[in-house]
Symmetry: D2
Subunit: 465 residues, 4 copies
């Protein structure tokens, strides 16, 4: 007689702290039991597989609205497919604001679009124009609706905030109990250096990295921390690219501040050299902050082990390479300044981190789970519903073959983008099945979910990790 | 129909990483399931209680043989009762060596005595005389028998080792895959200072602390780390009393060395001032290293939060206050040098750490579990059998009432020692039941176990944490 | 027969490194010899006195032009008198720029006004509007004329520069071989906090300190260093108020950057509490950055001893207390935002530093000389002509009575300002005579110099110290 | 008409802080004046030369008594010649103690032998046996006689002290106001590693470096500092070989302790690779601690610039290569353990430090003077008589040609040792004349001094630098 709707049998369960052989019993959309000899109406054999919480990708861009109209190429259906193919079951994407406009209306549009999602989802609310209306009227409503994090850019036309506006956002977040996430690079310094490079005829993709050296990232990170310290507001620093930047976070933590740091797979496996490929090829690797070098990557691993960097997200932000509206929107001869930034990574996040981290012995499997699921869930108010394997939590589970060797190619990514910057990268360890709230939504690479089956995740206040 | 022999129902399970409401199903002596709505032949209601792994006390002294014959007052039955009363289900005690003798014979005697244990147990093998026979013949046998840690003293007549002997022990441990644990204080410096104090008529208990300032502990800790680094052998530093000492461990970890640190409740709640009580009373608080001051205690909490100190053990080492063979063995006018060192703490370890740590908001419950159960189990090769709550592991469980307010008195301790240094200390949070391999061995303070029901734990190689 | 025009006989000569008894022979306006038994046409007996290099005050404001017309109260004659009374023989003041205007014209005006000086002088060129004309045409001329340092403000209406303009100044300095000095506080953060305080009715002088906590100074300091690092341009950070800020300089030095730090006597002996005096009295102590507290002062001494802070200047910037154009220009009920900033300190700089530093045993006399004369001379291109006692250098000498006890009162200051923030401060050590290029220009407090006897000091490139 | 017996005319005087063109007037054995246009009975033209204080070599071994009778090869006449040839005018050598003997008698013998010196000299008193007689009766006499520093070895048969004896020496120094200098390496660790290497057949000279890795030096350094901290006694750490060791000194200084560090030229230009030369050749480079590698050398320069290492001495300790009583005393096939340690360096100290430091731009000339003359003079109680150029000080002067290029060969060294480890090293900068108390004792390499013309220097208490 079956006790559970479904039993994942014989696998090795990985929680944020423990690794043990056990069955996992699922009832409805929740985990009901972890035990030995569980009996289910259905059974999935997981011998030799790791049974881990579904990935939580707390930083990715999907169907982000563009100023002129339209949206990012990556749609909720393709983006969801890519996430599920890669073992990720929850995402936090962005709701944007355009200067002169409010945030309620775009957020409604984001909800409308996300209704096609096949993963569970939440939003960070970008503040690009800290008007009184936005700060005092709209932010409280948005936060109360479960969008419990505000995002600010310290660089990028036209969204960057100056320090005054940033302080207003920090104060608004403090009043409403939201977290603030920050893209930290110095706007003026990048503009100044960019103008100098272009004036000098240095326009190829590789000069993207020259235009924004790590010192501009370290500067903005220190500044963001200092202003947050002044307002007494917790922040998360997005996409830390190198240990010098992480050191600012470490110093803040040592002072007792609530400052957290994220990094992304691109900073572990890409480098500035990738942007120096012949022709326009370098554009495929352009993202901000720019990838640095091998020493920086090794330093990031140290910062991960020392609990300075808590989260590894994808910052999935795709622009197709061949499409006229992608990387080459301004032509293949465009100066680096005019080439859209961002690399896709929803599907490759977990495999790259597992292979470079766990397989190569830099971290253990529990740390992998913390970085990719538990910590993002905790920091962004989704825990314990998401981010661990325990009775009562959503049955978001990825079955992982730790020995499977795969050469990454773009077909495996299942995103809409026509390339992956990791083409040809060999990884060991791969997701073979993904369950989302108890339903098998990916099996052996085949995504099987209905558009619209994803749920909006209203989020609780951040849980201090 | 019951699926399990026993179900602990409705409690809040605390693992090293997660806290969630669930039932725990026990089959035989193991945990079989963690789930919702489990059915057991018997049920223990745990509503409002925390369900945590039984404590692992990796440093305590029980029936330790004395040179002149006889043994420590604390017996395996009383010591076990104290442990179970305090929520601890596994202990690691010591097998001693006397100069001129071997280690096999005493170890057999320790096994014989421990046959009365009511907790599960293992041994650290003290090396006090690093002869060729011991190092090359006996250590390999002892380690192979599951006594996988060697203990050395860098101070204390007559057990202290000089650097040459210490190096021999480190090398022996490396060859056999054992861990080395170290009592770090500088022997000659303490002797020199002690002689000066006594010559100066400063003999009262409080001068114990003067005789061994933190600099002698820091010195020996740095030396132990350096010699271990030279031999490439992992070590654990016992009973770190202050942050200056912990800083040496932090530096070692930052260099990538395998060095771990332990501290004890006495360093969180006692201070040198306790030894300055009138008359002989100060003797009750004498232990080595000596407790420091409130700032040192606060610094230790920081070191715990920064993962520099991984384990909190009791260093239970009792000497009765009124007994003629206890603290006053040389009379109540004895100079501090001649008063036996050590304080009892088996039963009070978990309540003090919970109250000072979790209740007062310095650490969360998961960290409490890691410090008192998971990490000692991992470091000393007992994990995953001990130290967590997961299917397949021993059903060693403590049910904890987080809101229960208790004033510590010696009767609650259930040890043989006639006092506790924590008499009168108010704590919030208390163990209300203890299960050892599925059997309820303590309920509401009443220990109900058969002498001899404890098992010897042959230990595996240390698991790097 | 006389070998020298003048011999200072029998004193204790203090150079940046040595202290020894010797006569100093002066020929014309230069030191010609340091020796024993020198014979001079005239002799000044210096038994029991220290013979030190005349002070070099590399940061003070004299007759600075005001936007609406007119200039600071302190004139070149009164400012010179104050300097000489206090043992200072060289000053570097400021030439300002007004937005919309150039820098050549004001500089000419500053030269015209300084023609009345009785001390030797140079200028820092403030850049408040980094237009192309200024940056590319005027800065090279100004620097070539011997004004070899540019000054920027990162706060203060209307002179503050944003990061883009600051980068332009840094680059201009790099091209022309000038040093850049920086007032480091975050403009927007101060404005934001100020608005909040005033909205809250917190307008009294003491809220000046609240409006600009040390974190805004640390932020701007780190930013200034980062942008200078990006441009590879040496900078000096003005008036460091506390050790947290100095730590940013220490970190920069450890990275090998050419970054220097200055502090001022007010940060050793004043604190935020001074601004909390009853009524309008607090205005007397308002300066920016704001003085902090006793712990900060002690920390600054440590930073001085560790060679992180190289220079102690006065930042003399006087506003009379009773004058209708001074502190109370907007009335005694003006909110702190509208009260002019700055405290006078030309005459008190050396006595306070000597008394608090040398007399109290925090530094030795050679360090005093380095901080007040040698280092400013080196950093600002006046060394070896100024800043030491050696043959061939200008005979700028202060005779110092190290045991003289003085209670500071405003009369002793000889400036035009009607108060001193140090009224009543007891100091031990006082200048009893000052020589400027061989001429005795102050004796026992009596200044005896002709207006116009001071010389413009065209400065050489900074000498890396 | 002459004012001075001798004038050094037209050179560039380098003091610890300043560099300026001036004449130096000498009267009798003292400097009488530094000035322009001085007139002397005799004149030495110094155009284009640096005029610097004669070197003070605070650590060298000359005619050190050997246990079996006899003394080191280097005699007071040859050692003095070598010192003078290299620009050094004062040395501090060692008076030894043999176990079982006292220190007064050997010291008398050292005085007797040093009566042939041509340089001024003092002694460090080695304590090899801290008996009551030595500690309580002899040390006070020795210190009172002007031998104001005690030297201890933490390694080396038969002179090494254990921690108890070391503490007794530290306490004796504290009572008598002497400084303690320490050779820091862990005795037992070296013995243990040496035995292992020899048992393994690894006996060639290069294994000398293997037998004493930097960790044993760091260990002993930390221990020496800790024990000195406990006793509150200042110490100097001899011959720091690498930055890890210097870091312990830096930490101690940051805690406010009086701990100073010395390094030597061998650690800047030799490395462990030198000991790996074919055959017995490696023996030429054997000294303790062992030279490390290029990264360590670069790190030492950083520690010099950061004022962590204050003094550069030679540790001249020569053993001829071909002599049957030198390096090959036990044959050219002797295991490294039996090959005498030490390299000669009296004459090469200043040229190597100048060339590697000043010529190559790592330090300036004033720093060179501080490291080689001022600081040793200050720390060892010879300042201001020695160590600077100022009126009233001894006229110990070296005239230095900063542009002279020399290839070091053993003939230039003028010591008795038959080789130099620096054979073939090219240096830029060379001493062309040396004056000792006003007398020209070396000119163009020709030493012209009478044996016995050197003076014993009774030393004052250390002057805190
Ligand atoms: Zn971003
Ligand atoms: Zn992004
Ligand atoms: Zn112990
Ligand atoms: Zn113990
Ligand atoms: Zn300023
Ligand atoms: Zn100013
Ligand atoms: Zn030595
Ligand atoms: Zn030596």
């Amino acid at each position: 007689m079956a006790d559970y709707d479904l039993v994942i049998a014989g696998g090795t369960v990985v929680t944020p702290a423990d690794t043990f052989r056990a069955d996992v019993g699922v009832q409805g959309d929740r985990i009901a039991a972890i035990g030995l000899g569980l009996r289910g109406a259905r059974t999935i054999e997981a011998d030799g597989l790791l049974v881990m919480p579904g990935g939580v990708d707390s930083h990715c861009h999907i169907e982000q609205l563009r100023k002129g109209g339209g949206a990012d190429e990556e749609t909720w259906t393709t983006g969801s497919a890519s996430a599920l193919a890669g073992g990720t079951t929850s995402v936090i994407t962005f709701s944007t604001q355009f200067k002169g406009g409010g945030i309620l209306a775009p957020l409604a549009e984001y909800h409308r679009r996300a209704a096609k999602a096949m993963v569970d989802y939440g939003f960070h609310q970008i503040i690009a124009d800290a008007t009184d209306t936005v700060i005092f009227e709209e932010v409280p409503q948005v936060v109360a609706s479960g969008v419990r994090s505000l995002k600010v850019f310290l660089t990028y036309d036209p969204v960057h905030l100056d320090d005054r506006q940033f302080l207003r956002v920090l104060a608004a977040a403090r009043r409403t109990g939201a977290l603030v996430t920050v893209h930290c690079e110095n706007y003026e310094a990048i503009n100044w250096r960019t103008a100098a490079l272009l004036a000098d005829g240095r326009a190829a993709p590789k000069y993207h990295a020259w235009s924004r050296p790590s010192v501009v990232e370290r500067e903005a990170t220190h500044r963001a921390i200092a202003l947050a310290e002044m307002v007494d507001q917790p922040i998360q620093v997005f996409h830390v690219s190198c240990p010098e930047v992480a050191e600012e976070i470490a110093r803040a933590k040592a002072r007792g501040l609530k400052v957290w740091g994220e990094t992304c797979p691109q900073y572990f496996v890409l480098s500035a050299d990738h942007m120096d490929r012949p022709g326009f090829e370098g554009a495929k690797f352009m993202c901000s902050p720019a990838p640095r070098d091998a020493a920086a990557s090794e330093g990031l691993w140290r910062m991960v082990r020392d609990n300075v960097l808590d989260i590894v997200s994808s910052d999935h932000s795709g622009w197709s390479y061949e499409s006229p509206v992608g990387k080459r929107v301004h032509g293949t001869g465009a100066p680096f300044r005019d080439i859209p930034n961002g690399v896709p990574g929803l599907a490759s996040r977990l495999p790259i981190l597992f292979s470079e981290g766990v397989t190569k012995g830099r971290i253990d499997a529990c740390t992998f789970v913390r970085l990719t699921a538990t910590n993002p869930a905790k920091l962004f108010g989704l825990y314990p519903r998401k981010g661990t394997i325990a009775p009562g939590t959503d049955a978001d589970i990825v079955l992982w073959d730790p020995g499977k060797q795969v050469v990454i190619d773009n077909g495996l990514m299942q995103h809409i983008i026509d390339y992956t910057p990791y083409e040809g990268l060999e990884v060991t360890g791969w997701p073979v099945a993904t369950l989302r709230r108890g339903a098998v939504v990916m099996r052996d690479g085949k995504v099987q979910a209905e558009p619209g089956s994803g749920q909006f995740l209203p989020r609780a206040p951040y849980h201090m990790i």
